[in-house]
Structures are given as C-alpha cells and as structure tokens.
C-alpha cells in the first residue's frame, strides 16, 4: 500500500471574531493517497473550504488561526515550515484553484504572464522563452483554442469557463502532486461544469495528480472521486469510497443529503425532502453529536457524547454515529 501523500491529523482552525470564536474546523483527520481523488462534501459553512485553506496555510491571520493538529505532506509537517518553505511548496507541490473564476485572475496582467510567473517562480533555471513555451503548452492542454495568441490576452477577454481553465493551467503548470479544487464549478453553467470536470479528471489521471475536490454537489462527486469525506459543523462525519457513500450511506446526515436530491423518476407532485432545522452554531458547539438537533434517529446518548469516526459496514467506511444506518 502506497504511503499517504497527505495526512491531516486533528486539525483545528478557529476564527477569532467580535461575536466569539468560530470553530470552523474542529478536529479533522483524513488522508489522501498519491493519485487519488478525494471528494469533500458538505453544506455551506461546514468547514470544507477552511480545511483546504489550512492545508495550503492560507488562512488569514487575523482573524483565523490554525490552533492544533498536524498536516503531513510527503512525511513533513507543513505547520512547522517557514514562510519561505511554504511558498516554495505552494504552486509547485500543492496547488489550489478557487470557486469564482471571474475574480481569481489579476485583471492587469495577461493570462500568459500569470502562468509564466508561476513557472519562473518555481523553476529557477528556466529561461523566459522556455517559460513562455510551457505557458502555451499548458493553455493547449486545458483546451484554450489559439493558445499562442490568447496567451497575450487579458482575463476580462475570457468567459467564466475559460478563466477557470486558465486557473487549472496555472495550478498544473509545475506538475504538483496535489491539486486542491475548492468548488471549481459552482459558479459555472452546468454544461461548462461538465467540461471542466472532465478536463480535471483527464489531467489528474494523466499526470497522476492527487485531487482534493471540494463541493456541495453530490453529483459532481459521483463522477470524479474515488473516496469521499462528508463534513458537518467542522467535523468529518463520514468517510467512505464513492460507491459506499451512494449505495450504503451510514450517517443520517449523509442519508438526508442523498434523499434531498430531487430524482427524475419520482412521482410528480411528491414533495421535495429537506433536512429540517438550523445550521449548527459554530461559536458555541453543542455537547454531543453536532447533528443531534436535526437527526431523525437521535437518542439520549447523542446529546451527551460526541461520536468519533468508527467503522461501519465493510472496507474503510467510517461514520461518526452511535446509531448508523
């Protein structure tokens, strides 16, 4: 079994605000193997983006702070590294793309410049010409037509989908081992979504890049990931292979998520199912299971003790529930 590319242990990231301390990521542990695509699913505010930014060590401080935990990448703890070492890793070993392509590119530099900049930053021995060649190569790779000419264009001359491709080009230019994609297709049209996801899937397979794909859309997960983490209230409450998540979901929250997806084969007139209740309070987390207030299977124990991730079913599937499915 290959050693893990990324090992996150007991990560805690808090935000210190005027209203209180927001425990955005509250004891999260997971691993990613080389070449594996991990999906991280959850509703807005569950902590998935903050987890990703913590791995990249891009949490704005103030008000945020990684309070505890270890992030082991290739065996080394990223949280112990200096700023210089971290900036060496970002963009070359671990890359990240973000949700809104419209604002993620600097409007005053050409697209080609922004790609070449990454190359030159991380490959010191590369000449300007070589960097530019690589830039055009990357643009071709992400299927930007007429790459040589378009490299000299500015971001505002591209559509949303194309800008996201440019972002992918920037992220993959230095052949990273891990690509973190934070809701990369949420802001795009559905048809473009499919294209961009296909692109990512193809490239990651070709270059054996591990991918951490963050999304709230289970459909996206189904098509691209091998393994899935489901997050809620700053915890991972279920972790399983993609097949297991869809076929035998264990945690009631996962079950609820799957049930709330409208289905084509449902009878007309059936009401849509939703998960009742409020999103969790991250400043004053409840004692016990964070999902307890909304869980249809809740028992007394759920309010008193917080369940850890424990094996359910077969294989590696784990869920943090005392009364899983």
């Amino acid at each position: 079994m290959a050693t893990n590319l990324l090992e996150v242990n007991n990560l805690k990231t808090y935000f210190y605000t005027r209203g209180g301390v927001v425990k955005a990521v509250n004891d999260v542990s997971f691993t990613i193997k080389p070449g594996e695509t991990l999906g991280v699913v959850g509703e807005s505010g569950c902590g998935k983006s903050v987890t990703a930014l913590s791995v990249m060590h891009l949490i704005a401080n103030p008000p945020g702070k990684i309070v505890d935990g270890h992030i082991n990448f290739n065996g080394e703890d990223l949280l112990e590294k200096s700023t210089e070492e971290l900036s060496d890793i970002r963009g070359s070993k671990i890359s990240m793309i973000f949700q809104d392509p419209m604002t993620s590119l600097n409007p005053v530099f050409t697209v080609g410049y922004q790609i070449a900049e990454t190359v030159k930053r991380h490959r010191k021995d590369v000449t300007n010409d070589q960097a530019w060649k690589r830039t055009v190569e990357m643009l071709d790779l992400v299927h930007i037509p007429d790459a040589k000419r378009r490299a000299k264009s500015y971001p505002h001359e591209f559509s949303g989908g194309m800008r996201q491709r440019v972002m992918i080009a920037i992220a993959l230019a230095c052949n990273p081992q891990l690509l973190i994609a934070d809701e990369p297709t949420t802001a795009l049209d559905v048809t473009i979504q499919a294209q961009v996801l296909e692109l990512m899937k193809g490239l990651s397979q070709k270059y054996r890049t591990a991918v951490m794909l963050i999304t709230h859309d289970l459909g996206v997960v189904a098509g691209t990931c091998q393994h899935v983490n489901v997050m809620y209230a700053g915890h991972i409450i279920e972790s399983a292979s993609v097949k297991q998540i869809f076929e035998t979901p264990a945690h009631p929250y996962t079950v609820g998520l799957l049930q709330s997806i409208p289905r084509l084969d449902e009878q007309r007139g059936t009401r849509l199912t939703s998960i009742p209740g409020q999103p969790p309070d991250l400043i004053n987390p409840l004692v016990g299971c964070p999902y307890a207030p909304r869980c249809p299977k809740v028992q007394a124990r759920c309010h008193e003790e917080r369940p850890e991730l424990m094996p359910v079913g077969r294989g590696e599937q784990v869920a943090a529930c005392f009364y899983p499915n």
Binding site: M56, L58, T83, E84, S87, D88, I89, R90, G91, S92, S95, M96, F98, D100, T103, S104, L105, N106, P107, V108, F109, E117, T118, R121, H122, Y154, H156, E157, M167, I170
Partner: protein, 319 residues
C-alpha cells in the same frame, strides 16, 4: 478611445464657453463704470466716449462677449484697469512663475509622500503605525490649509526666537532658484501646501490598497507560491494605484484654490495675491483673466487624468 477623446473635447469646449461666459457676464453686469473709475478726477465727456469706444464698451453685450472670446484665444486680456500701462497678460506672467513653482512642488510632494504612506498603512493595517498615521492624516486633512499655515508660521517664529535660526516666516525667494535662503523661504509654504493633499492621498491609497488586498486574485497569487513581497508590490500595488490616477486631475482644483490661501498667509507674491488685490481694486480684467486661466488649467488637468486612467486600466482600454 478616439471617440471618447472627442466626446470629452466637446464637453470641454462647452464648459469653457460657460465659464468664459459667466466670467464675462459678471464683469459686464458689475456695478460701477470702469471708465469713470479710470478717469477718476479728470472727467471729460469727449474723452469718456472715446475711452468707451476704445475699450469696446459701447457695443451690445453679445458682441462684447464675442470680442472677449476672440481676444482670449490670442491670450489678450486687455489692459488692467488699475495699472493702465500694463496688459493683464504681463501682470499675470510676472506672477505666474511663483505660483507655478509653489504648485508644482506641492503636487509632487503630495504624491511622493501620500502614496507610500498610504500603502504602508494598508500593509500594516490596524497596527499602531496605521492608526497613528491615519489619525494624523485625518487631522491634517480636515483642518483647513490656512489654519495649518498659521500654526506653522507660528512654529517657525517660535523656533526662530529660541534658536536664532532666522528663517523668514514669509515671502518667497527667487522663483525657481534654490540657494539656501531661497530654500528657507520656500520650504514651509510648500510643505504646508502639500500636507493637506498628501493626507488625502494617503487615506485614499490606503483604502484602495486594502480593497485590493481583499481581492481573490491576491489569494490566487499567494496560492501560486509567490513571495509576499511580490504579491504586494507587483500584484496588489498596480491595481491599487489605478483609482489614484484620477485624483491627480482633481487635486489640481484643490491646488488652485489652496494656493490663494497659502500665498495670503505666507505673503507670497503669486497669482493668488494678484487676484485678491485686483478684487479690492476692482480691476475686473485681471480677475476675469485669472479665473479663466485657472479654470482652463483645472479642466485640462481633469482631462489628463481621465486619459491616464484609460491608459493604465486594461479593462477600460478594451471598451
């Protein structure tokens, strides 16, 4: 781009028409008969009519306005009422270099002090450096320039007394010359003049920089592994400076009006003081001339900064 320029030029011409017309009408409607004034004691009907004809004052108002405009285009503002041997232009050109020197230096200093200060405060936002500087800037910017000027003059006088340094509290040295006595005389007025603008620009630069630092593309730059120095000075700065370009033109308006006060408090013989004296002596041609010239400068300044803005921001260029 050409289209835009043409539109602006048309607007500019319209504005100039209005301004010249307003200035002209003021002079025309001004109570008091200038010829009477000039003749003073030696009133003689024949001479009066001759003079009226000479000054073109017996023509209908629209013709007078037309002549007015034509003359302006030749930079001919007529003769001063007060000092009849001198043309208005000569009076203005005598005093213009002084005001120009004051204004140019102040403009330069404003930006040279303001922008770095603002950027620094943005980078160190909410630290004591930021609060201290921005607090001072707020004070300096809110207090009117001439009040600051008085305080500074007072400070100079006190320092003079205490140390016997002998810095001249008022007056201006030789225009555009920089011997030590010249610098002594000019330093205080220029600094005071620049301070208000610098404070304003610093606040603007800080806000702009903070706004830019919040943008997604800055996060992308960091995620790419770029060093913080590069992120700030290459990616953020250029975007932050764009809105500041437009202040360049507008600050001309403030400069022009501020000059009046600084010249007054520091007894500087520039365009401002000429205008003020000509008001009390009812030397209308001089007043009109300075107002028109200054307005033209302001309008051109605005146009210049609009053009600069277009050049700098690639998003606008495309339109």
């Amino acid at each position: 781009m050409i289209q835009f320029l043409l539109k602006r030029l048309v607007g500019l011409i319209f504005v100039l028409f209005c301004v010249t017309f307003i200035t002209f009408i003021m002079g025309y409607l001004a109570p008091g008969d200038p010829i009477h004034f000039i003749m003073g004691q030696h009133f003689n009907v024949k001479l009066y009519l001759q003079l009226r004809h000479l000054y073109g004052l017996d023509l209908p108002w629209y013709q007078q306005y037309f002549n007015f405009l034509v003359h302006i285009l030749h930079f001919d503002f007529g003769y001063s009422y007060k000092q009849q041997q001198l043309t208005v232009i000569s009076i203005i050109t005598t005093n213009l270099p002084v005001t120009l020197e004051l204004g140019v230096w102040a403009l330069l200093l404003q930006f040279l002090i303001g922008i770095p200060l603002g950027i620094l405060c943005a980078i160190k936002a909410n630290t004591w450096i930021d609060t201290a500087n921005m607090g001072t800037a707020l004070l300096v910017y809110s207090i009117p320039g001439f009040v600051l000027a008085v305080f500074v003059r007072f400070a100079i006088a006190q320092i003079d007394q205490a140390t016997g340094a002998g810095w001249p509290p008022t007056g201006w040295g030789n225009p555009w010359q920089y011997t030590w006595p010249d610098i002594q005389a000019k330093l205080a007025p220029i600094l005071v003049f620049a301070l208000g603008g610098a404070a304003y620009i610093a606040r603007l630069a800080r806000t702009s920089m903070l706004e830019v630092l919040r943008q997604d593309y800055i996060r992308t730059a960091r995620a790419k592994g770029l060093r913080e120095r590069i992120v700030i000075y290459r990616h953020a700065l250029r975007n932050a400076l764009i809105p500041l370009v437009t202040t360049f033109g507008y600050s001309l308006g403030f400069l022009v009006t501020g000059a009046f006060f600084i010249e007054n408090i520091f007894n500087i013989p520039g365009l401002g003081s000429i205008t003020v004296t000509s008001v009390s002596t009812r030397d209308y041609p001089v007043i009109q001339a300075t107002v028109i010239l200054l307005t033209i400068a302001i309008v051109l300044g605005n146009l210049l900064s609009d053009i600069l803005y277009m050049i700098i921001d690639p998003r606008i260029k495309a339109e």
